[in-house]
Amino acid sequence: MDQPVSDQLTACHSCDYLLRLPELQPGQKAQCPRCGHPISRRVRHALDRSLAFAVSALLFLTLALMFPFLAFKVQGRMQEMSLLHSAVELIQQDYLLLAALLLLFILLAPTALLALLLPVLLAVRRGRSGDWTFRFAHLLFAVQPWSMVEVFMIGVLVSLVKLSSQADVVLGLSFWAYILFSLSLTAAFAGIDRYQLWHALDEAHHG
């Protein structure tokens, strides 16, 4: 209530409609009255849930890097592949740029997301945020579209079907870990609402 009125003033991202957003109760969401774009959504315990899923995502990512991802058997010969191996193979084939993009989309961007999200969430929880948390949150939203973990999972499934007629494919431990990583990362971001996060950071900064 002590907050200056201008803090609740916001503009729709899609159509620039100026609106005054009331404080949302858990479970409520706000849409732009003009274009229908979702403005904000408040989920009960959203930050704690995000934090829990982000920590589990970090664990599953570590596991996904440690074991074989897929193995392939044909005529008695077997070949194993780790998650990093496909990038290594592309580099050996002189497809450096493709290897770099692959690493960026399936490992570096998602790792950066976690490295940015975890400190931001912890800062909000502890009610202590500084200039760096605002910078981290800014970067977080810039990196987000370039993390393609779920898209990669679909690519893996398509590859499995393509190969199934020609050879036996064995799913490695890392395969399952990466699936769980993908689900945890999605769940961690499901609870992140831009408007609520910036509002929380603001309060942690001033309070």
Binding site: T10, C15, C35, Q93, L102, H138, P145, S159, R194
Partner: protein, 224 residues
């Protein structure tokens, strides 16, 4: 003046600008957001030119992405090359209809649809069209959401190349179309990023009919 250029009810009309990153509303005189320090712009600078340039590059790159091979397969010493479309046809003939459909949608329908949608949106803004602002905004949000999913085929190539290296027995190598197609996806994502959907709403006539009617629609929708 500003009042004439921007739609009724917009922040711009009130001399305010919303931060792209955190959404905080600031007066036009500020260059940086007081909350998150991002650079402030009333609208994305040169939004249409940037979108057009990126789209044209994407269209040009889409040609080698389809004409060049996306991967080469060596099976018992015999080499076969396949293009994106060739791969879809082969999967279809093998009877893997769902997978053929996934690849076709991700590699053909989504990128082509996205390029057409963004081109039409930019054209409609450039010509100052006033029809269907709400539908055009939804179309834009859709192109923004589905863009990343086109990368599936590139990942398939990367996985197959990484996994299948058994020399003459069976090996898979990447083709130049893989990189070209990855470029198409990245360029269309950047094009979607540089398009500013708020341009659709600027210059709408005062108190447009969609505004009043949809506002009442919404209030009924919200009751579960």
């Amino acid at each position: 003046m500003a009042e004439a250029q921007y739609s009724q009810g917009s922040a711009a009309e009130q001399g305010l600008q919303a931060c792209h990153t955190c959404g905080k509303v600031s007066p036009l005189t500020l260059n940086h957001c007081p909350r998150c320090h991002s650079r402030l712009h009333l609208r994305i600078p040169n939004s249409l030119q940037r979108t057009w340039a990126l789209l044209l590059t994407a269209i040009l790159l889409y040609i080698p992405a389809n004409s060049e091979p996306i991967m080469r397969t060596t099976l018992l010493g015999q080499e076969t090359v396949s293009t994106i479309i060739g791969g879809v046809v082969l999967l279809w003939q093998m009877g893997s209809y769902p997978i053929a459909a996934v690849i076709f949608i991700a590699s053909v329908v989504v990128p082509v649809g996205k390029i057409l949608a963004l081109a039409w949106l930019s054209f409609s803004v450039w010509r100052g069209h006033r029809l269907w602002p709400r539908q055009r905004t939804v179309l834009y949000r859709l192109t923004e959401l589905i863009g990343r999913w086109s990368m599936v085929d590139v990942f398939v190539v990367a996985i197959l190349v990484g996994l299948i290296q058994l020399g003459e027995l069976m090996s898979i190598y990447p083709g130049s179309a893989a990189l070209a197609f990855a470029g198409v996806v990245i360029l269309t994502m950047l094009a979607a990023n540089s398009f500013d959907p708020r341009l659709i709403w600027d210059r709408l006539p005062p108190d447009p009919i969609p505004h009043t009617s949809t506002a009442s629609d919404r209030s009924t929708d919200d009751n579960p």
